[in-house]
């Protein structure tokens, strides 16, 4: 919660600017604010419609930013700073990596790699596979297939320790055999034991008309039946969308005999960086590409950045539309109150005080619209959505993410709204300021 409602320092500047501006205008403006508020209330329909336009733009922007925020949090939450990911040299993604065990087995003997209580290196040998799976009971006009991410592991408990992913109570890691009898009879058909991420458990559960799959339940992937033996506490990471199973079974079944990835646990971020650099430069048996796990996931942010860019463009274009709307309202307000302005000028209010008064009025509309937009947009907090994260060079991971509306996003929406109010209100306020008193009262 603390993290959700902390404000990043880069927003302090604009926030201070707008807060200061509004306070300053309220203090120096001699025209009472109640005059503006009453005018807004008298023209409540137009005020409401203008504020609603702000509300829609801000609410939409909040939802879109929450989506990208969720993607960023997901990539950030997936990597451990002390882990090193080893891929084949040249591979841009786990999907395209191909590591021969014979050539690369020594990487886990690197002195930087930590050891468990049995003195085994804390290394997870993995094969990452994307399976194209028909969706059971897919109706007409609905999607027929989906991509499932399967991670084959040699030692699931060690992989869990390396990735810092414990199981939910009641579950267990898959056995050394990786299979169990489907119907209780040992000689009969065998089901592949699987550990699921929470997100994929929910997704597969929907196929069977339930909220989620649970331990002991069955599903189908590829040509075999699978049984859930454990659910990972994987929320907020890309592992949430993965199925873990015995590598020796799933690798050959889906045509990947070799490993794709080795993940090594080191003492800390510094040790991880040193180990990664050393392996990349000095591991001679086979060319490998080692990188700190957080760096690897950082590179998968390319899609996020592209989405963010698109959102910014859409938000700006919509904001321009909103600005024209508020300009219309403020020009109309001025034309309706031309006599008021003339009277105020005659009784001694200065030009700049008229400007401040109308400027403040447009900021008030923007503030109300923005606050309402933030409130509506914040309802999206916690929604789940599917997306993809990738480094932009093929591959990538399909993920289920949670939309996160945090303080930064709410503030960005509010500042955006105030910015629109500022731009849209300033020109009409200038025109109000330029009215000549005698002409205005005629």
């Amino acid at each position: 919660m603390t993290e959700t409602f902390s404000i990043s320092p880069r927003l302090f500047g604009p926030l201070g600017f707008f807060a200061g501006l509004m306070v300053l205008l309220a203090i120096v403006g001699k025209v009472p604010i109640s005059y503006n508020v009453r005018n807004l209330l008298v023209r409540w329909r137009i005020t409401l419609m203008t504020a609603l336009a702000f509300t829609l733009v801000v609410a939409l922007m909040t939802v879109m930013l929450a989506f990208v925020n969720g993607m960023y949090r997901l990539t950030l939450g997936s990597g451990q700073p002390g882990n090193v990911v080893v891929l084949a040299d040249g591979a841009t993604d786990e999907l395209f990596s191909n590591l021969g065990y014979r050539d690369t087995s020594d990487v886990e003997r690197h002195p930087g790699v930590l050891r468990d209580d049995k003195e085994r290196p804390l290394a997870s040998w993995e094969v990452y596979i994307v399976v194209n799976q028909p969706i059971p009971n897919a109706g007409d006009g609905k999607r027929k297939r989906r991509f499932l991410q399967v991670r084959g592991l040699d030692d699931p408990a060690r992989a869990g320790a390396v990735h810092n992913l414990p199981l939910h109570p009641g579950g267990s890691w898959f056995s050394a055999a990786g299979v169990q009898p489907l119907r209780g009879d040992v000689g009969g058909e065998q089901a592949i034991q699987a550990v699921l991420g929470e997100g994929i458990a929910r997704e597969l559960g929907k196929d069977q008309g339930r909220d989620s799959l649970h331990v002991g339940e069955f599903f189908e992937v590829g040509p075999r039946k699978w049984v859930v033996v454990g659910i990972l506490q994987s929320s907020g990471s890309t592992f949430d969308s993965e199925i873990w199973a015995k590598r020796q079974i799933v690798g050959p079944m889906f045509g990947k005999e070799n490993y794709t990835t080795v993940v090594l646990r080191t003492a800390d971020a510094t040790a991880a960086r040193e180990t990664a650099q050393d392996l990349t430069a000095n591991f001679k048996k086979s060319a490998v590409q080692a990188q700190v796990e957080t760096d690897y996931y950082e590179k998968l942010n390319t899609t996020n950045q592209q989405f963010l860019g698109a959102i910014i463009v859409v938000a700006i274009i919509m904001a321009v539309g909103g600005v024209f709307g508020v300009m219309n309202t403020m020009f109309a307000a001025i034309s309706q109150r031309t006599r008021d302005i003339g009277v105020m000028r005659i009784i001694g209010f200065a030009r700049w005080q008229i400007l401040v008064s109308f400027f403040l009025e447009s900021l008030l509309i923007a503030l109300v619209g923005g606050l309402l937009g933030c409130a509506i947009g914040s309802l999206a907090n916690g929604w789940t959505a599917s997306s993809i994260i990738s480094g932009g060079q093929g591959g990538g991971k399909s993920v289920v993410l949670k939309l996160i509306v945090d303080a930064d996003i709410l503030l960005t929406g509010l500042l955006f709204s105030l910015g629109m109010g500022c731009v849209g209100g300033f020109i009409p306020a200038l025109s109000a300021m330029r009215l000549r008193p005698l002409e205005a009262v005629r």
């Binding site: 329909r45 137009i46 419609m49 203008t50 336009a53 829609l56 733009v57 609410a59 939409l60 939802v63 879109m64 989506f67 084949a88 040299d89 040249g90 591979a91 999907l95 395209f96 191909n98 596979i129 994307v130 399976v131 194209n132 999607r143 297939r145 989906r146 991509f147 590829g222 079944m253 889906f254 045509g255 990947k256 070799n258 899609t303 592209q306 989405f307 698109a310 859409v314 274009i317 919509m318 321009v320 539309g321 909103g322 024209f324 709307g325 300009m327 219309n328 309202t329 020009f331 109309a332 034309s335 309706q336 959505a385 599917s386 997306s387 932009g392 060079q393 093929g394 399909s398 993920v399």
Partner: protein, 455 residues
């Protein structure tokens, strides 16, 4: 394709869609009405001119918001089209059954290209194309996205018959591409690359490049760029004659064998995709059955699906994003537009209550007054919408070279010709929605009330 042929194609497409015909008839009706009621039209224009600033601001708001809707709908339109099942002249994709990326032995290519037809009664596809993906960098010391290139290795002769979107080329573009294909067939080292990829690599037509492979490790190829793709969807693409890759693989394996070393790890995995063109859904079903039931493709197993179904699978990861664009973003923009127009028309009606009362005194019926107010909104919405979609069409397609939005493997989205009628329709629709209540309020102006207030 000549301008005449393009025109004929456009007319055929236009008349085949009832909605387009309806829209055209509606437009004609509007023009006719404008002719009949030209006095009223003149009156509306004068009313809009009276507060030119407000009309311009409303118009500008409509223009920018129609712009966003046009962009979003263009993406959705393209994706809907790509994923909707066709009944005639459809394409099928054959890939590895379970795994992504699909990697099959190249030995599958010959029989799969024939749709696994073994008996004389079996159905054979009308056309086919194989794809092998070869990715590499021209600067192995410092690989970046800019210096990386991915080739579709294929039979160059299939380029014009099987690749999407190349059937709308101009005569000159087609002739250039034909020539490039002939050269590629004669010399397998020649390649064609899209202009954006060439620009990213800082290379030009005529240059030779050495590509250090990323996926085919140790098989590095030297190629000569002989042409660039016509401007459009292939701006980031590159194609190479498949024989070049396959011969290089054979050479590599022969050397390995001579040294007693294992063959290349991708030897039995070099075929990624086979495209088949079939005349209709029945033919597709039969070809798919032939392939799926054939014993030739057991390790790995293969699957055959329509191109639209295959693309749908790739878009599955984006389904929530696309849902949000379709059902959150677009409706919100349309409501915002309606609000902006409603605001402007409300203000206008409020300021002109005396005028409305005078019109009533002069004999205008409430319905005519309402029509005048609605007409003003429709005029401003329709014209602004038409301008916006037209400008978007020209700017995105002719100037920007497409809308670059990161969805699946589509490098850029073009604004369809249909967008030219979306704009005015959106403008008119939102104008009617936004101005209905203000127009109703104008209709119900009471003459006695207005004049009593004045007096």
């Amino acid at each position: 394709m000549s301008p005449l042929e393009r025109g004929a194609l456009w007319w055929e497409r236009f008349t085949s869609q009832p909605l387009y015909v309806l829209a055209a008839m509606l437009a004609l009706l509007v023009v006719y009405t404008m002719g009949v009621y030209r006095k009223q039209m003149w009156f509306m224009l004068k009313s809009l001119r009276r507060n030119l600033l407000r009309s311009i601001l409303t118009s500008l708001a409509t223009v920018v918001l129609v712009l966003v809707v046009t962009l979003v709908w263009s993406i959705l339109y393209f994706l809907d089209k790509a994923t909707s099942e066709k009944a005639k002249d459809l394409k099928a994709i054959v890939t590895e059954r379970w795994q992504i990326p699909s990697q099959m032995p190249f030995a599958y290519a010959a029989s799969l290209s024939e749709g696994a037809a073994a008996r004389p009664t079996d159905v054979r596809p009308d056309d086919n194309m194989t794809w092998q993906f070869y990715g590499g960098t021209i600067d192995p010391g410092k690989r970046t996205r800019e210096n990386t290139v991915f080739f579709f290795c294929m039979d160059p002769r299939k380029l014009l018959t099987m690749m999407d979107g190349l059937d709308e080329l101009t005569l000159q573009e087609r002739s250039d591409l034909d020539h490039a294909i002939d050269v590629m067939v004669k010399d397998k080292r020649k390649v064609v690359i899209g202009k954006d990829r060439l620009a990213a690599m800082k290379k030009r037509v005529g240059e030779r490049i050495k590509v250090t492979s990323l996926n085919y490790k140790d098989i590095d190829l030297e190629v000569e760029i002989i042409a660039e793709f016509p401007d459009g969807r292939y701006n980031q693409s590159a194609i190479m004659n498949r024989d070049y890759l396959n011969d290089a693989m054979d050479d590599y394996n022969a050397k390995q064998k001579a040294k007693g070393l294992p063959t290349h790890p991708l030897t039995m995995k070099s075929l990624n995709l086979v495209w088949l063109r079939v005349p209709d859904t029945d033919a597709y079903q039969r070809v798919a059955d032939q392939i799926m039931s054939s014993s030739l493709y057991s390790s790995p197993a293969v699957k055959c699906e329509t191109a639209s179904s295959g693309i749908s699978s790739f878009l599955d990861a984006y389904r929530d994003l696309l849902w949000g664009m379709r059902w959150l973003l677009v409706p919100s923009i349309l409501v915002t537009m309606s609000l902006v127009i409603a605001n402007a028309i409300s203000i206008s009606v409020r300021e002109r209550r005396v005028e409305m009362a005078v019109l009533k005194v002069l004999g205008f019926s409430p319905g005519q007054i309402m029509a005048l107010v609605l007409g003003e909104a429709i005029l401003i919405g329709g014209l602004s919408g038409a301008f916006s979609s037209g400008a978007t069409y020209v700017l995105i397609n002719q100037v920007a070279g497409g809308l670059k939005f990161p969805i699946a493997f589509f490098p850029a989205f073009l604004i369809p010709e249909d967008a030219l009628w979306w704009g005015p329709m959106i403008g008119i629709g939102t104008a009617v929605a936004g101005s209905f209540f203000p127009a109703w309020s104008a209709r119900t102006v009471k003459v006695s009330d207005v004049f009593s207030k004045i007096s």
